[in-house]
């Protein structure tokens, strides 16, 4: 299993896709953090809830973590390398488990960079503008720890959804459509259901307190359950289908 995980990590490192994801993520987070940290008017940054908006920009890394996970499996189907991969280890569930773990590790790495950048720039912006930091120590820990955990789990979710869908473009469009449209509509119109979505569970895990969100611990449990359930579905789908 360790060998499999090492192989998957080498796959991540040995193409330029990963570099592109990292550069894109850093650029986007720095841009968002600077814009929101410097342009938000001071009266709108008084409460801890307000300040979360700029300090939590780093959780955008979750999008890139999910993409990295998606690439880890769908680029194998797209380029046909899934065939040698399964020839070398025909126990497909093990290959998928190794990919899920590699996705988690990639997510942790991206999360560390993204959350540190987002939180650092946000806090620096507050400090230089002389706005008092409104989050308690516990709230700060929840924000940072929750965002890190969520970004890491998005890497696993990316692998799992990619294993189910297989098509690279299809998976990415599906995840974006879910995250940008369907999830928002669901939460707006049926919040009692929508709050169990991975995205809203992530919000809860990071300590956001908007109406209808779950408590933080429950949010974490729901996000973890999504990652686990999708991974199992991905493993089952991969075990059954022919590889062509």
């Amino acid at each position: 299993m360790i060998d499999q995980i090492r192989a998957e990590l080498l796959k991540i490192r040995s193409t330029r896709t990963t570099l592109g994801l990292v550069v894109g993520m850093i650029g986007l987070i720095v841009l968002f953090a600077l814009l929101s940290g410097l342009l938000t008017k001071a009266p709108n940054l008084a409460t801890s809830e307000d300040q979360r908006g700029i300090l939590d920009v780093g959780s955008t890394a979750g999008l890139f973590s999910a993409l990295a996970g998606v690439m880890l499996i769908t680029s194998e189907y797209r380029h046909g390398t899934i065939k040698p991969t399964f020839l070398f280890d025909p126990r497909r569930s093990r290959v998928l488990a190794a990919k899920a773990i590699a996705g988690l590790l990639a997510g942790i790495a991206l999360g560390l960079v993204g959350v540190a950048l987002g939180f650092g720039i946000g806090a620096l912006a507050l400090h230089t503008r002389g706005i008092p930091f409104a989050l308690t120590g516990a709230q700060t820990a929840l924000l940072i720890g929750g965002a890190l955990a969520a970004v890491a789990l998005w890497g696993v979710i990316g692998v799992a959804v990619g294993a189910i869908v297989r098509s690279q473009v299809g998976t990415i469009i599906g995840l974006l459509a879910w995250g940008l449209i369907i999830d928002n509509l669901l939460f707006a119109f049926v919040p009692s259901v929508g709050r169990y979505s991975p995205n809203r569970a992530e919000n809860a895990l990071e300590g956001l307190t908007a109406a209808h969100l779950l408590p933080a611990a429950a949010g974490g449990a729901v996000l973890l359950a999504w990652a686990a359930a999708l991974t199992i579905a991905g493993i089952l789908a991969t075990a059954r289908r022919d590889v062509t």
């Binding site: 040995s14 020839l87 025909p90």
Partner: protein
Amino acid sequence: MSPPQAAVRAESLSKRFGSVLAVDDLSFALAPGTITGFLGPNGAGKTTTLRMLLGLTAPSKGRALVFDRPYAEVTRPALRIGAVLEATDFHPGRSGRDHLRTLSRSVGLSDIHADEALRRVELEQAAKRRVKGYSLGMRQRLGLAAALLGDPELLILDEPANGLDPEGVRWLRDFLRDFATQGRTVLVSSHVLAEVAQTVDQVLIINRGRLVAESRLAELTARVSGSVRVRTPETDRLRAALEREEIQTSSTNEHALLAHGTSSERVGQIAFAAGVPLYELVAESSSLEDVFLELTAQEQP
């Protein structure tokens, strides 16, 4: 009593895709140490059969076995079986060496094996270049290098000569011969008999998913020994003389005969001995390729 060990065995193997029966009740066994050509026209079911042998595709019926087990149940299969299915199965942005390293790492082999495999297929110069810049021939070699990583005793290759230039085909032929002289087993598919005729010991010919011929190459070549066309004014006397020597004949018109399974020298001698004048004597040997085409001719439904 179990049958003797075979390197590759298909038992009533069938695969259905929707309404199409791609592989239809295929059975064969390959002894260790043989080179077998797996032949048939495009779409005959060769690739599907190889995918079932390699555990990538599940049979609809029957069993596909390597070393008497389904592929997925072979212990550390990459160390016993090497396979190349398509010359395009690479990430274009990854170097050839990194491609091999990801695979060798997954089975706990060190990078030394990757470098050794690159050397065996003569790709060291391009090792660190991205596959995007490789020619088709180089990709075929890289695929072969991946198959060789675990130093396997069985090689399964799907159309390895596709897209190779004549020099590449010769290189591949030498390579496979060398591999087989070490007592290892090769199953190589092709839709062109000539590509493998100089390499293989035996052939399996399939058409429309069914086995149409299984023979040693020498037997197939014997079928090729052609007919001799003779023009003579005395066809009846010549026919009688040939049939006394147990040579089958058929007549094409009243002044010509076809003598089957013999040589022009022999027909000439028999005619001379019988005092039959000959106006024309032509050997019409059909090629190996003709036999192949005849065996795989599509029956019209």
